[in-house]
């Protein structure tokens, strides 16, 4: 008798577990009007033209993009001669590096984000410490663990390389005389380099910083070429304009479609991962653990303050913009709810850009999805996300949908490799 009762209870437990793990209710056959609007808002066909960058007058120059491409792949832009932008932002990995934390000349403290479609963002870095793509491009060049170079050496490289010198002159006018000593100098790095910088005349400092800013502007013009291409999801979304049918197996499998249903619904992913690039380019605290061995990061709270102090920001002397163009910087929010907030990354080609989060804290997509389903308490400030309590079957469906967002770039292949020298 007892044996039979135990057997029945075990059977029920196994069935219950299987149900919890694998059961998935059938989807309706038609999307509702509001669901269709959300789906279509995610399609790449809805991507507006790239907004101009008034702070960079060569942002949309082909010549500047060519100059930027040559600089992007050039390891001479590092103090050791071994690191280029492409060392971490690798074309073969959707312009990321596959590592938890970036490794340039030395190990860094942040995960390398993809550059694809990033030119649409008003803010750069995980904490938004830069307000333009050209200003962003400058910081790694002088950072000790990334390129470990400095603006004086970089200006000298432009002057010494006849190809670069020609690009520079055509785009920005006559290259100024670059001081021959000291060997290295910058106001933005170590005390020794700052002391060296202070030996330069003020007029030389402005000229060297101007050449440096122009290097950033060419690098930004190149990065504006890096655009995602349409994939199966976009075909699905565009086909649903004509026909609200949920099941379109020629584009998305039933698991992927179920994932999309969750993505725009119960799982609320679309709250932040919205628009054709699957990102609102904004900053959110989602309770991600601090990077191992680091204090919890202040995120956007510090980032916006750094951006305001940055001499290369939209309002600074190196910017080509009028103050009226610098709306994002002038009206940036800086309140306490930005403590611990980091930038929403794109989900396009997410399969190629593991690991995830600002410090690469989560190795796989399934870990990311479990994190959001659980929505743990944040170490700093509060987690904006609420627990979702998704079942294993639902997590798998979401993952299937995310994996369907992979597609070759829209960028012509010549931009994905170094120019012939």
């Amino acid at each position: 008798m007892i044996v039979r009762a135990l057997a029945t209870a075990s059977l029920l437990a196994v069935l219950g577990l299987a149900f919890w793990n694998f059961y998935s209710p059938a989807l309706p056959t038609q999307w509702t009007e509001p669901q269709l609007r959300l789906i279509q808002s995610l399609s790449l066909s809805q991507l507006p033209p790239l907004p101009p960058d008034p702070s960079n007058r060569v942002a949309d120059s082909e010549l500047a993009a060519e100059f930027g491409r040559a600089l992007y792949f050039d390891t001479r832009l590092s103090g050791t001669g071994t690191v280029s932008c492409a060392s971490c932002h690798q074309p073969g990995l959707m312009f990321s590096d596959g590592l938890a934390l970036a490794v340039g000349v030395a190990s860094g403290t942040r995960h390398t984000p993809s550059l694809v479609g990033l030119s649409y963002s008003p803010w750069f870095y995980w904490d938004g410490r830069k307000d333009s793509q050209w200003a962003q491009a400058l910081a790694p060049l002088e950072s000790r663990h990334e390129h470990a170079s400095d603006r004086l050496q970089l200006s000298r490289l432009i002057a010494a390389d006849s190809n670069y010198r020609q690009y520079y002159t055509q785009l920005f006018g006559t290259l100024p005389e670059i001081p021959l000593t000291p060997e290295s100098a910058t106001p933005a790095s170590t005390a020794a380099l700052l002391a060296a910088w202070q030996t330069l005349a003020a007029s030389d400092q402005v000229q060297v910083s101007t050449v440096f800013a122009n290097i950033g502007k060419a690098l930004a013009a190149y990065q504006r070429k890096l655009m995602p291409g349409p994939g199966r999801f976009d075909d699905y979304a565009d086909a649903s304009i004509a026909d609200a049918a949920i099941h379109k197996e020629q584009f998305l499998s039933s698991a992927e479609t179920a994932g999309l249903y969750l993505f725009i619904g119960k799982a609320q992913c679309i709250s932040c991962h919205n628009g054709p690039l699957f990102t609102n380019h904004e900053f959110h605290n989602t309770g991600v653990l601090a990077v191992n061995g680091q204090l919890p990061a202040m995120g956007r709270y510090d980032g916006v303050r750094i951006a305001r102090q940055d001499p290369f920001n939209c309002l600074g002397v190196f910017s080509d913009a009028d103050a009226a163009d610098c709306l994002e910087l002038r009206f940036a929010r800086d309140e306490n709810d930005l403590v611990g907030a980091h930038k929403t990354p794109t989900l396009r080609n997410i399969a190629a850009t593991a690991p995830y989060m600002h410090g690469g804290q989560l190795a796989t997509l399934s870990e990311v999805l479990e994190h959001y389903s659980e929505a743990p308490t944040s170490m700093l400030s509060h987690n904006e996300a609420k627990p979702l309590g998704l079942r294993p079957a639902e997590l798998r469906q979401l993952q299937a949908f995310l994996l369907s967002l992979s597609a070759p770039l829209a960028t012509p292949s010549k931009w994905l490799q170094a120019p012939q020298r």
Binding site: S41, S271, N274, N280, E282, F331, R333, D334, E335, E384
Partner: protein
């Protein structure tokens, strides 16, 4: 025949002009403040949408319909369901004409329910209105 075509063109032009004017007169958001002032918001981006920074004209009239000039106006708020504010810090940059204020730096970053608080400070009184809308 020719005349008829001409009249048709003139007629449709007039309709278009009237339509455009009417569109300008329909506010994107409206509310009555705790002090009885009417608040009308006309957005540069209409209908309102996410992820684009833009400006608003805010028209404030007293209960008797007179424009409210020289008031200190602030706009704050966020998404109550997500415990966060507006991603930007919009503020009034100038008064365009009596009772018409230019608010710059507005951007929303999520679809869903937004709640804004408009405060109108004048000597001796403060009006407050909560405006809820869906994006």
């Amino acid at each position: 025949m020719r005349n008829k075509a001409l009249w048709l063109i003139v007629g449709s032009l007039l309709t278009a002009v009237a339509g455009a004017r009417e569109a300008q007169l329909i506010a994107d958001l409206e509310a009555i403040s705790s002090s009885g002032q009417s608040i009308q918001i006309f957005s540069q981006l209409s209908p309102l949408q996410i992820n684009k920074i833009h400006g608003w004209q805010i028209v404030v009239r007293a209960a008797d319909g007179e424009p409210v000039s020289g008031a200190e106006i602030s706009v704050s708020g966020g998404m109550p369901e997500h415990d966060h504010g507006i991603p930007t810090q919009p503020r009034i940059t100038r008064q365009l004409e009596p009772g018409v204020y230019l608010l710059k730096g507005v951007r929303f970053h999520m679809p869903g329910k937004w709640q804004l608080v408009v405060e109108i400070e004048q000597p001796g009184q403060t009006g407050r209105a909560v405006i809820e809308f869906e994006l």
